[in-house]
């Protein structure tokens, strides 16, 4: 029997989702500012 922690397979998927959300916010804000104003 392995003592490896359970439920680990999805952790990289969640990592990817969270980092994408984060990068999306960054890119989205940059885009909005660059296209803001005169």
């Amino acid at each position: 029997m392995s003592d490896a922690p359970p439920r680990r397979r999805g952790k990289w998927i969640l990592f990817g989702i969270l980092m994408t959300v984060c990068a999306g916010f960054y890119a989205g804000i940059m885009y909005k500012i660059i296209h803001y104003g005169p």
Binding site: S2, P5, K11, V21, I33
Partner: protein
């Protein structure tokens, strides 16, 4: 075949620097965060004392010396601006956030949830490296000739026009910001995926919940600050005009973006501090958390949800439609509801309990008073008709120091005393620690209450001297006295930690009689892999199962 972490770990003895620099062990990474954040606190604290010396007129030249202007080449007011920049940036970005979400989260979260490490240990190591790099960049302030002087806010147009090194400010924010984003992703995944078999989220420690909610805030809002300061960098060094009003840029756009992150950042600090206080209070009261679900879902999760809709109160005097002022006044006042839930829950946890007043608990009891003063003084600042008079005065300065500078700092100090026996195997709970606590509490009250009074009377924030307002000079001198009392207290406290780490009385494994996993299921101090046997949680287990 079943193997334990201890069987897998090779026996080692002695101190090896490389093992610490390249470690992926969450406990050692936590210790590295602790050392870095306390170092930032001490230097930023020195700047705070210099600021008090400057405003009180007692020794205005001291501030030049503390920012590295040993030849006295800078004007006193310029050196004061540098000191104010470093104090704010280092206290928030270098001490409070890394101390709470770096040190405390790293050391405690995996053990509290029954995990052997975080979900991504190497990314965790990268986080602490970036943090240390950020600290080093911040410390260059003291050696470079064009010292940054843009407060911790970096407001344009000053940040664009100043001869100071705005890039150092921006790169510090980038490094520590990226570090905290990686940390946030790591711990959110760790809490969701690495809990011991059988542990429901509803069974987690309050501190785990507080970190989970705080890091959700961090993950959403840090990119906004990163974008804002990046464009600030472009404005100053590449000639763009996003925020430069001389060429059609919008200053208020930056201010909005800055506070869109920085007000939620208050809760990134507040929530973990509250989580630490909860865990200490429950253990030292030997009580279950009063209304656990209400405190978690209504308090912590509620604060997490509302945190993003209140930032405009920082701009109430900047000019905006009244409907927006009214709306943001309501959302700001709503913050008192989840905070109130948590405070009532803490009082309820202590109600009729047999409380043991160790040093950690003394800090937590002080926290209950500090959060009350900080919270209640926030209400007039949320009300538009009042805040037009109080904005930009010392009243604001004293208010946020109570809620962040004192409440969160006292919670962190209390947590260091509480988990010190677990980390080192020795106690730091000495008579000197109690004296240091008394001095810290007394000193901070003597420092900040005069600032409330003169703030109401009209003393502006961020003035290098009191020459323009000589009627407030005696209050500034009382405030200086308080800062000096605190400095003695902090020296005794930090000295006590170092002494206790080597010579403190040895303690039994579960010295406080806690029911939480880090005390009941690990060695003292915990070895590599944390647990001798894999942890399995039963349906009726609770970290607060005291009755």
């Amino acid at each position: 075949m079943s193997t334990t972490a201890h069987q897998l770990a090779p026996a080692r003895s002695g101190f090896r620097l490389g093992e610490w620099i390249f470690t992926t062990d969450h406990k050692r990474i936590g210790a590295l965060y602790l050392i870095g954040s306390i170092a930032a606190f001490l230097v930023a604290g020195l700047e705070a004392v210099a600021i008090r010396f400057s405003q009180s007129g007692v020794a205005p030249g001291l501030v030049n010396w503390t920012v590295g202007d040993w030849g006295g080449n800078m004007a006193n007011a310029s050196a004061y601006n540098v000191a104010l920049y470093f104090h704010g940036a280092a206290m928030i970005l270098g001490f409070l956030i890394p101390g709470l979400t770096g040190f405390a989260a790293n050391y405690l979260i995996p053990i509290m949830i029954g995990a052997r490490d975080v979900a991504f240990p190497r990314i965790n190591a990268l986080s602490v490296w970036l943090f240390w790099l950020g600290i080093i960049v911040a410390l260059t302030t003291f050696v470079i000739p064009d010292k940054p002087d843009v407060m911790w806010t970096g407001y344009p147009p000053y940040a664009i026009k100043t001869a100071g090194n705005t890039a150092a400010y921006v790169f510090t924010v980038h490094l520590i910001g990226f570090s905290s984003i990686l940390g946030a992703v790591n711990f959110i995944v760790t809490i969701l995926y690495m809990r011991a078999p059988g542990m429901r989220m509803g069974q987690m420690n309050m501190f785990v919940w507080s970190i989970f909610t705080a890091l959700l805030i961090q993950l959403i809002f840090v990119p906004v600050l990163a974008a804002a300061v990046t464009l600030l960098l472009f404005d100053k060094y590449l000639g763009t005009n996003f925020f430069n009003p001389d060429n059609g840029g919008d200053v208020l756009l930056y201010v909005n973006l800055f506070w869109f992150y920085s007000h939620p950042a208050v809760y990134v600090i507040f929530l973990p501090a509250m989580g630490l206080v909860y865990d200490i209070v429950a253990c030292m009261s030997k009580s279950k958390i009063f209304q656990y679900e209400a405190a978690v879902y209504g308090g912590m999760c509620g604060l997490c949800v509302i945190s993003g809709e209140v930032w405009v109160h920082h701009l109430f005097i900047a000019g905006m439609p009244n409907w927006l002022r009214a709306g943001m006044m309501v959302t700001t006042l709503l913050i008192s509801v989840p905070v109130g839930w948590m405070i009532i829950s803490l009082w309820g946890t202590m109600w009729k309990a047999a409380i043991t007043y160790n040093v950690a608990m003394l800090y937590c009891v002080a926290c209950l008073a500090l959060v009350l003063v900080g919270g209640l003084t926030g209400i007039p600042l949320a009300i538009v008709s009042v805040t037009v008079h109080l904005a930009q005065t010392s009243f604001v300065h004293a208010h946020f120091h109570f809620i962040m500078g004192l409440f969160a700092t006292f919670a962190l100090f209390g947590s260091i005393y509480f988990w010190f026996p677990k980390i080192t195997g020795r106690s730091a709970d000495t008579i000197v620690a109690k004296i240091a606590f008394g001095l810290n509490l007394l000193g901070t009250q003597v420092t900040f209450w005069p600032l409330f009074i003169i703030g109401v009377e009209g003393m502006p924030r961020r003035y290098a001297t009191s020459e323009v307002y000589p009627q407030f000079l005696s209050y500034h001198q009382i405030s200086l006295l308080g800062a000096l009392i605190s400095a003695v207290g902090v020296t005794l406290m930090v000295g006590g930690w170092v002494w206790s780490a080597f010579y403190g009385a040895r303690t039994p494994g579960n010295v406080w009689g806690s029911k939480s996993l880090e005390w009941t299921h690990t060695e003292t101090p915990p070895g590599p892999g944390n647990f001798l046997e894999p942890v399995v949680i039963s349906e009726d287990w609770s970290p607060y199962n005291y009755n």
